[in-house]
Protein backbone atom coordinates (compact mmCIF):
# COMPACT_ATOMS: atom_id res chain seq x y z
CA UNK A 1 0.00 0.00 0.00
CA UNK A 2 1.05 3.59 -0.53
CA UNK A 3 1.82 5.76 2.48
CA UNK A 4 2.76 9.37 3.15
CA UNK A 5 5.80 8.85 5.33
CA UNK A 6 7.13 12.38 5.47
CA UNK A 7 6.53 16.03 4.79
CA UNK A 8 8.70 19.01 4.00
CA UNK A 9 7.79 22.66 4.38
CA UNK A 10 9.94 25.05 2.40
CA UNK A 11 10.02 28.51 0.86
CA UNK A 12 10.13 28.57 -2.94
CA UNK A 13 11.75 31.94 -3.68
CA UNK A 14 12.70 32.16 -7.38
CA UNK A 15 16.13 33.64 -6.56
CA UNK A 16 17.01 30.40 -4.70
CA UNK A 17 16.47 28.52 -7.96
CA UNK A 18 18.49 31.11 -9.85
CA UNK A 19 21.34 30.72 -7.33
CA UNK A 20 21.40 26.96 -8.02
CA UNK A 21 21.13 27.41 -11.80
CA UNK A 22 23.90 30.02 -11.93
CA UNK A 23 26.24 28.24 -9.51
CA UNK A 24 26.12 30.99 -6.88
CA UNK A 25 25.42 28.82 -3.85
CA UNK A 26 28.96 29.18 -2.46
CA UNK A 27 28.79 32.97 -2.52
CA UNK A 28 28.65 34.79 0.83
CA UNK A 29 25.06 35.87 0.25
CA UNK A 30 23.76 32.36 -0.44
CA UNK A 31 26.12 30.08 1.49
CA UNK A 32 24.36 30.27 4.90
CA UNK A 33 21.02 29.36 3.31
CA UNK A 34 22.41 26.43 1.35
CA UNK A 35 24.41 25.20 4.35
CA UNK A 36 21.08 24.94 6.12
CA UNK A 37 19.68 22.84 3.26
CA UNK A 38 22.52 20.30 3.48
CA UNK A 39 20.92 18.12 6.16
CA UNK A 40 17.57 18.09 4.34
CA UNK A 41 19.35 16.94 1.18
CA UNK A 42 21.12 14.17 3.09
CA UNK A 43 17.80 13.19 4.66
CA UNK A 44 15.93 12.92 1.35
CA UNK A 45 18.81 10.98 -0.24
CA UNK A 46 18.24 8.34 2.46
CA UNK A 47 14.45 8.62 2.58
CA UNK A 48 14.15 8.16 -1.22
CA UNK A 49 10.44 8.85 -1.71
CA UNK A 50 8.97 7.29 -4.85
CA UNK A 51 6.55 10.16 -5.27
CA UNK A 52 6.53 13.74 -4.04
CA UNK A 53 3.22 15.57 -3.88
CA UNK A 54 4.27 19.19 -4.24
CA UNK A 55 1.77 21.70 -2.90
CA UNK A 56 2.68 25.03 -4.47
CA UNK A 57 1.19 28.02 -6.14
CA UNK A 58 1.34 29.04 -9.74
CA UNK A 59 2.56 32.62 -10.26
CA UNK A 60 0.69 33.63 -13.41
CA UNK A 61 2.35 30.87 -15.46
CA UNK A 62 -0.07 27.98 -16.10
CA UNK A 63 -3.04 29.92 -14.78
CA UNK A 64 -3.87 33.57 -15.09
CA UNK A 65 -6.82 35.67 -13.99
CA UNK A 66 -8.77 33.98 -16.80
CA UNK A 67 -9.24 30.96 -14.58
CA UNK A 68 -8.47 30.77 -10.86
CA UNK A 69 -8.82 27.26 -9.45
CA UNK A 70 -8.48 27.14 -5.68
CA UNK A 71 -7.03 23.61 -5.78
CA UNK A 72 -5.78 21.88 -8.96
CA UNK A 73 -4.04 18.52 -9.27
CA UNK A 74 -1.83 17.72 -12.24
CA UNK A 75 -2.55 14.26 -13.65
CA UNK A 76 -0.22 14.37 -16.68
CA UNK A 77 2.79 12.07 -17.24
CA UNK A 78 5.02 15.12 -17.66
CA UNK A 79 5.05 18.80 -16.71
CA UNK A 80 7.37 21.22 -18.50
CA UNK A 81 9.11 24.13 -16.75
CA UNK A 82 7.21 27.35 -17.53
CA UNK A 83 8.55 30.53 -19.12
CA UNK A 84 8.00 33.14 -16.43
CA UNK A 85 9.47 35.94 -18.50
CA UNK A 86 13.16 34.94 -18.43
CA UNK A 87 12.77 31.83 -20.60
CA UNK A 88 12.08 28.48 -18.85
CA UNK A 89 14.43 27.33 -16.05
CA UNK A 90 16.97 24.85 -17.37
CA UNK A 91 15.86 22.02 -15.11
CA UNK A 92 14.69 18.53 -16.04
CA UNK A 93 11.05 18.01 -17.02
CA UNK A 94 8.96 16.95 -14.07
CA UNK A 95 7.61 13.41 -14.39
CA UNK A 96 4.13 12.85 -13.04
CA UNK A 97 2.39 9.81 -11.61
CA UNK A 98 -0.92 9.79 -13.53
CA UNK A 99 -2.36 6.72 -11.79
CA UNK A 100 -1.85 8.01 -8.27
CA UNK A 101 -2.80 11.55 -9.32
CA UNK A 102 -6.09 10.34 -10.80
CA UNK A 103 -6.70 8.19 -7.75
CA UNK A 104 -6.23 11.31 -5.61
CA UNK A 105 -8.67 13.32 -7.75
CA UNK A 106 -11.33 10.60 -7.66
CA UNK A 107 -10.93 9.94 -3.95
CA UNK A 108 -10.90 13.63 -3.03
CA UNK A 109 -13.95 14.54 -5.10
CA UNK A 110 -15.89 11.57 -3.72
CA UNK A 111 -14.81 12.83 -0.31
CA UNK A 112 -16.34 16.27 -1.13
CA UNK A 113 -13.10 18.08 -2.04
CA UNK A 114 -13.98 19.37 -5.50
CA UNK A 115 -10.52 19.52 -6.96
CA UNK A 116 -9.78 20.88 -10.45
CA UNK A 117 -8.12 18.28 -12.68
CA UNK A 118 -5.29 19.52 -14.91
CA UNK A 119 -3.91 17.53 -17.84
CA UNK A 120 -1.74 20.36 -19.06
CA UNK A 121 0.03 22.53 -16.55
CA UNK A 122 3.48 24.01 -17.09
CA UNK A 123 5.15 24.30 -13.67
CA UNK A 124 6.93 27.42 -12.49
CA UNK A 125 9.44 28.21 -9.74
CA UNK A 126 6.81 27.45 -7.09
CA UNK A 127 7.25 23.76 -7.89
CA UNK A 128 10.75 23.50 -9.35
CA UNK A 129 12.60 25.53 -6.70
CA UNK A 130 11.60 23.14 -3.87
CA UNK A 131 12.89 20.26 -6.03
CA UNK A 132 16.20 22.11 -6.49
CA UNK A 133 16.37 22.78 -2.76
CA UNK A 134 15.93 19.09 -1.96
CA UNK A 135 17.74 17.46 -4.90
CA UNK A 136 20.17 20.14 -6.17
CA UNK A 137 20.96 19.57 -9.88
CA UNK A 138 20.34 15.96 -10.93
CA UNK A 139 20.12 14.95 -14.61
CA UNK A 140 16.57 13.92 -13.90
CA UNK A 141 14.46 14.31 -10.78
CA UNK A 142 14.78 11.15 -8.68
CA UNK A 143 11.05 10.94 -7.87
CA UNK A 144 7.71 11.19 -9.60
CA UNK A 145 5.88 14.41 -8.81
CA UNK A 146 2.21 15.21 -8.37
CA UNK A 147 1.66 18.96 -8.55
CA UNK A 148 -1.09 20.38 -6.36
CA UNK A 149 -1.55 24.04 -7.24
CA UNK A 150 -3.30 26.28 -4.72
CA UNK A 151 -4.58 29.78 -5.41
CA UNK A 152 -2.87 32.10 -2.97
CA UNK A 153 -2.63 35.15 -5.25
CA UNK A 154 -6.28 36.12 -5.54
CA UNK A 155 -7.89 36.95 -2.19
CA UNK A 156 -9.39 35.00 -0.51
CA UNK A 157 -6.93 32.16 -0.30
CA UNK A 158 -8.45 28.93 1.08
CA UNK A 159 -8.70 28.89 4.86
CA UNK A 160 -6.18 27.05 7.00
CA UNK A 161 -8.94 24.78 8.30
CA UNK A 162 -9.84 23.77 4.74
CA UNK A 163 -6.20 23.24 3.78
CA UNK A 164 -5.56 21.06 6.80
CA UNK A 165 -8.70 19.00 6.10
CA UNK A 166 -7.60 18.60 2.47
CA UNK A 167 -4.28 17.28 3.73
CA UNK A 168 -6.09 14.75 5.89
CA UNK A 169 -8.17 13.65 2.89
CA UNK A 170 -4.98 13.29 0.82
CA UNK A 171 -3.50 11.07 3.54
CA UNK A 172 -6.57 8.79 3.38
CA UNK A 173 -6.58 8.77 -0.41
CA UNK A 174 -2.91 7.81 -0.65
CA UNK A 175 -3.40 5.05 1.92
CA UNK A 176 -6.10 3.48 -0.26
CA UNK A 177 -3.87 3.31 -3.36
CA UNK A 178 -3.07 -0.27 -4.15
CA UNK A 179 0.63 -0.07 -4.90
CA UNK A 180 3.63 0.01 -2.59
CA UNK A 181 4.81 3.59 -2.74
CA UNK A 182 6.62 5.83 -0.32
CA UNK A 183 5.21 9.33 -0.64
CA UNK A 184 6.59 12.62 0.63
CA UNK A 185 4.41 15.73 0.61
CA UNK A 186 5.95 19.17 0.26
CA UNK A 187 4.14 22.29 1.42
CA UNK A 188 5.86 25.26 -0.17
CA UNK A 189 5.87 29.07 -0.20
CA UNK A 190 6.35 31.69 2.49
CA UNK A 191 7.62 32.34 4.98
CA UNK A 192 7.04 36.00 5.82
CA UNK A 193 7.47 38.32 2.86
CA UNK A 194 5.90 41.31 1.22
CA UNK A 195 6.87 42.01 -2.37
CA UNK A 196 4.56 44.97 -2.97
CA UNK A 197 3.64 48.45 -1.86
CA UNK A 198 5.32 50.95 0.42
CA UNK A 199 5.67 48.18 3.05
CA UNK A 200 7.68 45.96 0.66
CA UNK A 201 10.45 44.04 2.38
CA UNK A 202 8.53 43.18 5.53
CA UNK A 203 9.96 40.10 7.24
CA UNK A 204 8.78 38.84 10.63
CA UNK A 205 11.31 36.42 12.02
CA UNK A 206 9.44 35.99 15.28
CA UNK A 207 6.28 35.00 13.40
CA UNK A 208 8.19 32.56 11.20
CA UNK A 209 9.97 30.82 14.08
CA UNK A 210 6.67 30.52 15.98
CA UNK A 211 5.12 29.01 12.83
CA UNK A 212 7.91 26.42 12.58
CA UNK A 213 7.52 25.63 16.30
CA UNK A 214 3.75 25.29 16.16
CA UNK A 215 3.69 22.87 13.24
CA UNK A 216 4.32 20.30 15.96
CA UNK A 217 3.67 22.24 19.21
CA UNK A 218 0.35 23.95 18.48
CA UNK A 219 -1.02 23.11 15.03
CA UNK A 220 -4.50 24.32 16.09
CA UNK A 221 -3.21 27.89 16.31
CA UNK A 222 -1.86 27.75 12.77
CA UNK A 223 -4.92 26.04 11.33
CA UNK A 224 -7.22 28.73 12.74
CA UNK A 225 -5.14 31.72 11.63
CA UNK A 226 -7.11 34.03 9.32
CA UNK A 227 -6.11 36.21 6.37
CA UNK A 228 -5.82 39.52 8.22
CA UNK A 229 -3.30 38.06 10.66
CA UNK A 230 -1.17 36.60 7.85
CA UNK A 231 -1.33 39.90 5.94
CA UNK A 232 -0.50 42.08 8.92
CA UNK A 233 2.11 39.86 10.56
CA UNK A 234 3.76 37.96 7.71
CA UNK A 235 3.33 40.38 4.81
CA UNK A 236 1.04 40.44 1.81
CA UNK A 237 2.56 37.24 0.42
CA UNK A 238 2.93 35.43 3.77
CA UNK A 239 -0.44 33.67 3.44
CA UNK A 240 1.30 31.23 1.12
CA UNK A 241 1.98 29.40 4.37
CA UNK A 242 -1.52 27.89 4.21
CA UNK A 243 0.06 25.46 1.74
CA UNK A 244 2.23 24.10 4.55
CA UNK A 245 -0.99 23.21 6.38
CA UNK A 246 -2.04 20.86 3.57
CA UNK A 247 1.30 19.11 4.08
CA UNK A 248 0.74 19.07 7.84
CA UNK A 249 -2.75 17.56 7.54
CA UNK A 250 -1.37 14.76 5.39
CA UNK A 251 0.98 13.57 8.17
CA UNK A 252 0.10 11.41 11.11
CA UNK A 253 1.48 12.55 14.45
CA UNK A 254 4.44 14.31 12.80
CA UNK A 255 7.86 14.47 14.38
CA UNK A 256 10.38 17.18 13.50
CA UNK A 257 13.62 15.87 11.98
CA UNK A 258 15.35 19.02 10.81
CA UNK A 259 14.78 22.72 10.31
CA UNK A 260 16.61 25.74 9.05
CA UNK A 261 15.73 29.43 8.81
CA UNK A 262 17.55 32.30 7.18
CA UNK A 263 16.88 35.93 6.30
CA UNK A 264 17.03 36.99 3.53
CA UNK A 265 16.53 34.98 0.42
CA UNK A 266 15.82 37.86 -1.92
CA UNK A 267 12.93 39.61 -0.07
CA UNK A 268 11.88 36.64 2.04
CA UNK A 269 12.35 34.90 5.36
CA UNK A 270 13.33 31.45 4.07
CA UNK A 271 12.44 28.44 6.18
CA UNK A 272 12.60 24.70 5.75
CA UNK A 273 11.34 21.92 7.98
CA UNK A 274 11.45 18.15 7.60
CA UNK A 275 8.75 16.14 9.36
CA UNK A 276 8.20 12.40 9.55
CA UNK A 277 4.89 10.64 10.07
CA UNK A 278 4.78 8.18 12.91
Amino acid sequence: MAKITSGVGTSHVPAIGAAVDKGLTEQDYWKPLFNGYEKAREWIAKEKPDVCIVVYNDHASAFSLELIPTFAIGVAPEFMPADEGYGPRQVPPVKGHPKLAWHLCESLILNEFDITIANKMPVDHGLTVPLSIMYNQPEEWPCKVIPLAVNVIQYPQPLGTRCFALGQAIREAVASFDEDLKVCILGTGGMSHQLQGERAGLVNEEFDIAFLNDLTADPERLINMRHAEYLRESGSEGAELVMWLIMLGALEDPKEIHRTYHVPASNTGAGLIVLESK
Binding site: A15, Y29, H59, A60, S61, S64, L65, E66, A82, D83, E84, G85, Y86, G87, I153, Q154, Y155, P156, S192, Q194, L195, Q196, G197, E198, R199, A200, G201, L202, V203, N204, E205, E206, F207, R226, H227, A228, L231, R232, E233, S236, E237, V263, P264, S266, N267, G269
Partner: protein
Protein backbone atom coordinates in the same frame (compact mmCIF):
# COMPACT_ATOMS: atom_id res chain seq x y z
CA UNK B 1 -18.60 45.79 -0.89
CA UNK B 2 -15.11 46.51 0.34
CA UNK B 3 -15.45 49.06 3.08
CA UNK B 4 -13.88 48.32 6.44
CA UNK B 5 -12.41 44.96 5.78
CA UNK B 6 -10.30 43.53 8.54
CA UNK B 7 -7.15 44.15 6.49
CA UNK B 8 -8.03 47.69 5.37
CA UNK B 9 -5.97 49.24 8.17
CA UNK B 10 -2.64 47.64 7.11
CA UNK B 11 -0.33 50.34 5.74
CA UNK B 12 1.44 50.27 2.37
CA UNK B 13 -0.29 47.06 1.28
CA UNK B 14 -2.59 46.45 -1.70
CA UNK B 15 -4.59 43.32 -1.03
CA UNK B 16 -5.53 41.68 -4.33
CA UNK B 17 -9.21 41.23 -3.59
CA UNK B 18 -12.25 41.34 -5.86
CA UNK B 19 -12.13 45.13 -6.13
CA UNK B 20 -8.52 45.13 -7.32
CA UNK B 21 -9.00 42.11 -9.54
CA UNK B 22 -11.95 43.67 -11.41
CA UNK B 23 -10.12 46.96 -11.84
CA UNK B 24 -6.82 45.41 -12.80
CA UNK B 25 -7.88 42.63 -15.15
CA UNK B 26 -6.74 44.22 -18.45
CA UNK B 27 -3.53 45.55 -16.89
CA UNK B 28 -2.65 42.19 -15.38
CA UNK B 29 -3.49 40.27 -18.54
CA UNK B 30 -1.22 42.60 -20.51
CA UNK B 31 1.57 41.73 -18.04
CA UNK B 32 0.74 38.04 -18.38
CA UNK B 33 1.25 38.26 -22.15
CA UNK B 34 4.94 39.02 -21.53
CA UNK B 35 5.44 35.36 -20.59
CA UNK B 36 5.75 34.71 -24.33
CA UNK B 37 9.01 35.70 -25.95
CA UNK B 38 7.33 36.72 -29.22
CA UNK B 39 5.13 39.13 -27.25
CA UNK B 40 8.15 40.52 -25.44
CA UNK B 41 9.67 41.26 -28.85
CA UNK B 42 6.51 42.99 -30.07
CA UNK B 43 6.21 45.06 -26.90
CA UNK B 44 9.88 46.02 -27.17
CA UNK B 45 9.35 47.18 -30.75
CA UNK B 46 6.49 49.54 -29.90
CA UNK B 47 5.15 49.66 -26.37
CA UNK B 48 2.23 51.96 -27.04
CA UNK B 49 0.82 50.14 -30.05
CA UNK B 50 1.27 46.79 -28.30
CA UNK B 51 -0.89 48.10 -25.45
CA UNK B 52 -3.68 48.90 -27.93
CA UNK B 53 -4.57 45.20 -27.84
CA UNK B 54 -5.56 45.46 -24.17
CA UNK B 55 -8.53 47.48 -22.92
CA UNK B 56 -6.44 49.22 -20.25
CA UNK B 57 -7.68 52.58 -18.95
CA UNK B 58 -5.78 55.76 -19.81
CA UNK B 59 -4.44 55.87 -16.25
CA UNK B 60 -3.30 52.25 -16.46
CA UNK B 61 -1.64 52.88 -19.83
CA UNK B 62 0.23 55.85 -18.38
CA UNK B 63 1.33 53.88 -15.31
CA UNK B 64 2.58 51.04 -17.52
CA UNK B 65 4.49 53.30 -19.94
CA UNK B 66 5.98 55.36 -17.08
CA UNK B 67 6.78 52.24 -15.02
CA UNK B 68 4.88 53.69 -12.09
CA UNK B 69 5.02 50.55 -9.94
CA UNK B 70 2.90 51.89 -7.08
CA UNK B 71 0.46 53.43 -9.54
CA UNK B 72 -0.02 50.05 -11.19
CA UNK B 73 -0.82 48.48 -7.80
CA UNK B 74 -3.33 51.24 -7.04
CA UNK B 75 -4.97 50.63 -10.41
CA UNK B 76 -5.49 46.95 -9.72
CA UNK B 77 -2.12 45.51 -10.64
CA UNK B 78 -0.95 42.42 -8.83
CA UNK B 79 2.76 42.23 -8.05
CA UNK B 80 3.19 38.76 -9.59
CA UNK B 81 1.81 40.18 -12.83
CA UNK B 82 3.45 43.61 -12.76
CA UNK B 83 6.75 41.94 -11.90
CA UNK B 84 6.67 40.40 -15.37
CA UNK B 85 7.09 43.92 -16.69
CA UNK B 86 9.97 44.41 -14.23
CA UNK B 87 11.57 41.20 -15.54
CA UNK B 88 11.12 42.59 -19.06
CA UNK B 89 13.00 45.72 -17.94
CA UNK B 90 15.73 43.62 -16.32
CA UNK B 91 14.92 44.89 -12.82
CA UNK B 92 15.40 42.94 -9.61
CA UNK B 93 12.78 42.51 -6.91
CA UNK B 94 14.97 44.70 -4.69
CA UNK B 95 15.02 47.49 -7.27
CA UNK B 96 11.22 47.40 -7.60
CA UNK B 97 10.83 47.05 -3.82
CA UNK B 98 12.95 50.18 -3.47
CA UNK B 99 10.98 52.07 -6.10
CA UNK B 100 7.72 51.23 -4.31
CA UNK B 101 8.99 52.14 -0.86
CA UNK B 102 10.99 55.21 -1.89
CA UNK B 103 14.59 54.06 -1.46
CA UNK B 104 17.47 53.13 -3.74
CA UNK B 105 18.11 49.49 -4.60
CA UNK B 106 21.29 49.35 -2.48
CA UNK B 107 19.46 50.69 0.56
CA UNK B 108 16.65 48.19 0.06
CA UNK B 109 19.15 45.32 -0.28
CA UNK B 110 20.93 46.44 2.88
CA UNK B 111 17.62 46.52 4.75
CA UNK B 112 16.90 42.93 3.65
CA UNK B 113 20.37 41.73 4.67
CA UNK B 114 19.82 43.35 8.07
CA UNK B 115 16.69 41.21 8.51
CA UNK B 116 14.10 43.03 6.43
CA UNK B 117 11.50 45.64 7.33
CA UNK B 118 10.46 44.94 10.91
CA UNK B 119 6.78 44.49 11.73
CA UNK B 120 7.08 46.91 14.67
CA UNK B 121 5.50 50.20 13.66
CA UNK B 122 4.30 48.73 10.36
CA UNK B 123 1.16 46.86 11.34
CA UNK B 124 -1.45 49.64 11.32
CA UNK B 125 -2.04 52.72 9.19
CA UNK B 126 -2.39 54.70 12.42
CA UNK B 127 1.27 53.91 13.21
CA UNK B 128 2.35 55.45 9.89
CA UNK B 129 0.15 58.50 10.33
CA UNK B 130 1.95 59.33 13.56
CA UNK B 131 5.28 59.50 11.73
Amino acid sequence: MRENRDYSDIPGTYVFDSHHSMLGYPLNMFCMSLNKSENRDKFRANESSYLDQYPVSEEQRKAILERDWLGMLRLGGNIYYTFKLAIFDGLTMQKVGGLMSGVEEEEFKAMMIAGGRKPEGNRYKSEWEKK
